[in-house]
């Protein structure tokens, strides 16, 4: 995360020289690797091939794309599956990839508030494949599909949102709640 940029601003009233720009040297340093050294280039290649696969794959109800200038941060959307209380709602998520991805899972958060037993008020998700059950063979696609199915099949035994967990039994009321909160957040 290092770069040297330079530009000059000539605001001298005595001359008519316009703002001058001197050539910006190339970025000079790679991010410092962590203890178990994972080559940054290979992380970039893997993220690029995931992006290609996602764009070709065309899975219904999920999409993801890197932020403009940082391939280590992605924005994603998940649409609630048919025949679940989340049908017709759409959620924005953020994924941030560690420098040793895919050996460690990305951090995934809901950016749109999501009333769900396994999502806390800050958008943090409790999902085993993003923690101890992480595998280096998982990718953005499997993560998003897992979160999409988690929406319809929460784990209510160890909830982050206890209100949502206790309301889950009453699907009709739950649907109303989801709609109400979704309208508020939109």
């Amino acid at each position: 995360m290092s770069a040297v940029n330079s530009y000059t601003q000539d605001r001298n009233p005595n001359t008519n020289t316009t703002a001058a720009e001197s050539p910006a040297p190339a970025p000079s340093k790679q991010p410092v690797p962590t203890a178990k050294t994972v080559d940054t280039q290979s992380v970039l290649r893997r993220l690029q091939s995931e992006l290609m696969a996602l764009m070709m794959g065309g899975d219904a109800g999920i999409s993801a794309f890197p932020e403009e200038d940082n391939i280590f941060c992605w924005k994603a959307t998940i649409t609630g599956s048919k025949d679940t209380v989340f049908e017709g709602t759409e959620y924005k998520l953020s994924l941030s990839f560690p420098p040793d991805y895919p050996f460690k899972p990305p951090k995934v958060k809901f950016e749109t508030s999501c009333f769900h037993p396994n999502v806390d008020l800050h958008g943090n998700i409790c999902l085993d494949i993003l923690q101890d059950k992480w595998s280096s063979a998982y990718d953005v696609r499997t993560i998003l599909l897992s979160i999409q199915s988690l929406l319809g099949e929460p784990n209510t035994s160890s909830p982050l949102n206890t209100v949502a967990a206790s309301l889950w039994e009453n699907q009709e009321e739950y649907r109303k709640m989801v709609e109400k909160l979704y309208k508020q957040s939109a």
């Binding site: 995360m1 290092s2 770069a3 040297v4 940029n5 330079s6 530009y7 000059t8 601003q9 000539d10 605001r11 001298n12 005595n14 001359t15 020289t17 001058a20 001197s22 050539p23 910006a24 040297p25 000079s28 340093k29 991010p31 410092v32 178990k36 994972v38 290979s42 290649r45 893997r46 091939s49 995931e50 696969a53 280590f72 941030s96 560690p98 420098p99 895919p102 050996f103 460690k104 899972p105 951090k107 993003l130 923690q131 101890d132 992480w134 595998s135 280096s136 063979a137 998982y138 990718d139």
Partner: protein
């Protein structure tokens, strides 16, 4: 995440107008340092240090100086800056950028000015990872001796590695796990230093605890 961003700005150039040839150029440096601290790639703290005004650098134009000499003058001056985070390579870029800016402005000035003053503002944004305990997500690594005794073969079929997603080059070194799943040697060895499960089938490898 560690590293620096350095921006160099030439601001409000004062030109002292007198008749005669240019005699010298003066660079006044003002240095702004901001520190971004990250924990596990998430920005946890951002603070801006007070600006540090440094003595100016004079370059006399009546003596002819080579590019190399100029570089050395700048380098000398920057050497004792209280900015520990400026890496060698960054500093060289900074010096080059300052010289480029100077050369450009000098060439675009009418020759009547005899002193040019460049107030240069240098913004250094330093990115640091802060040492907090890194979460290990509850993953348990494979025992070292089991990693060392993995069955290494050469790639035969046209297949891809489930970890890096790249195709095996024919004849490259691959590891066939006891569950017979195949990965690049490098990829699977790295993974087993994090986990003791096969990435595809969760076949369990020995850990240090058993």
């Amino acid at each position: 995440m560690e590293g620096n961003y350095i921006g160099l700005f030439v601001q409000d150039m004062d030109v002292v107008m007198t008749h005669g040839a240019r005699s010298h150029v003066e660079f006044n440096f003002l240095c702004n340092l901001s520190v971004c601290e990250y924990y596990d790639n998430i920005l946890v703290r951002f603070n801006v240090q007070p600006s540090i005004r440094r003595s100016s650098i004079h370059i006399y134009l009546d003596r002819s100086m080579s590019h190399q000499e100029l570089l050395e003058i700048f380098d000398q001056q920057l050497r004792d800056w209280p900015v520990l985070d400026v890496q060698e390579l960054d500093r060289r870029h900074l010096i080059e950028a300052a010289l480029n800016a100077a050369a450009y402005l000098l060439s675009s000035m009418p020759p009547r000015h005899n002193v040019l003053v460049f107030p240069l503002i240098i913004d250094i944004v330093s990115h640091r990872a802060v040492a907090m305990e890194e979460p290990d997500f509850g993953m348990v690594p494979t025992r070292d001796s089991s990693i060392e005794s993995l069955n290494i073969t050469t790639a035969k079929e046209e297949q891809s590695c489930p970890i890096c997603l790249e195709d095996f080059d024919l004849g490259c070194q691959v590891v066939s796990m006891p569950c017979s799943h195949v990965f690049h040697e490098e990829c699977i060895k790295m993974w087993l230093r994090y986990s003791h499960y096969c990435p595809l089938c969760r076949f369990e490898m020995p850990t240090n605890n058993c």
